[in-house]
């Protein structure tokens, strides 16, 4: 097994595991300011990805990422499906076949653009973008400071708590969305931590 393939499998497994382990928590966050399905949706999506994982990890990074994204699009069932799906698919489109650390920031920036276009949204609206954008900025600053990346992502997710939701169902709550962490922001931070863990060789 090539080490790249191993890395893809480790990443996928780590992400799917963290989503599965936190599914209940994500659903509860969504119950507070949404329709209470974010954990269920994400778990359904990553369960489907894992069911295909043997085939997916065989593919080079671009096709691997596009495949993950396409499965999320097809299986998640909530707004987060096409949004995270677009994120992964665009990462796949942007990254070269043999990506190095320095390629990731640019690819993530492009992927964020695509998510913003799909969601008609931007950072500051209490969504996944409020984690993705600072993560991309941190990568741009220092692509190798992996622990910082996890810290930035976790802090950014927490920072959605005091925000007022402008996009997604939470926006129906107006001011009452304030005081709750956004579920999609939380799942984004969980995925960042899982990916970093896999890169560092934790399990």
């Amino acid at each position: 097994m090539s080490s790249e393939k191993e890395l893809r499998l480790a990443m996928l497994t780590a992400v799917a595991q963290t989503i599965s382990r936190h599914a209940e928590e994500l659903t509860q966050l969504d119950q507070a300011i949404g329709d209470g399905d974010h954990g269920i949706n994400m778990k359904r999506g990553f369960d489907a990805v894992m069911a295909d994982s043997a085939g997916l990890v065989e593919k080079p990074w671009p096709e691997f990422l596009k495949g993950v994204g396409m499965t999320l699009v097809m299986k998640v069932g909530g707004a987060s499906g096409p949004l995270f799906g677009t994120l992964f698919m665009t990462l796949g489109k942007e990254l070269p076949g043999n990506p190095c650390a320095g390629d990731v920031a640019g690819a993530l920036e492009a992927a964020i653009q695509a998510v913003q276009a799909r969601g008609k949204s931007e950072a500051g609206q209490k969504t996944m973008l409020d984690v993705l954008v600072p993560v991309a900025a941190q990568l741009r600053k220092d692509a190798l400071a992996l622990t910082d990346l996890v810290t930035v992502a976790a802090a950014a997710a927490e920072a959605t708590g005091p925000m007022k939701a402008i996009r997604g169902r939470a926006s129906f709550l107006g001011d009452r969305s304030i005081g709750h962490v956004d579920p999609g922001a939380r799942s984004s931070a969980l995925m960042v931590a899982a990916v970093v863990g896999a890169v560092k060789g934790e399990s």
Binding site: D35, D37, R44, V73, G78, A79, S80, T86, R118
Partner: protein
Amino acid sequence: MSSVGIVIVSHSPKVAEGAADMVRQMVGDEVKVAWCGGDPTGGLGTSVEKIMQAIDSAWSAGGVAILVDLGGAETNSEMAIEMLPPERQGRAVVCNAPIVEGAVIAATEAAGGSPLEVVKRTAEELSPQ
């Protein structure tokens, strides 16, 4: 049949089916109507795969107007449109109109043979705000 087809995409299959019943009552068989609802495992939500199938079954030479309810239904429908074969893209549009009222109005306009832009505009303008 070249009149614009109508696709109804709700989080709830019951809403989608009931709205299609209301459309049928207004336009009979003059307009193709397809509906879908529910996430891939049947809970409340939407499914890109089901949306693509519904678009396919309501497809007409005049294109299809898609009516959606909340956020995810819209995002998933836009995703589904992008995954259509290139020659169909641009002839499937999501209407910024309420799902039930908009579906009835869009179908009524489509039954008159109006082109896609007019069907979309009429649904968006005539619906209760």
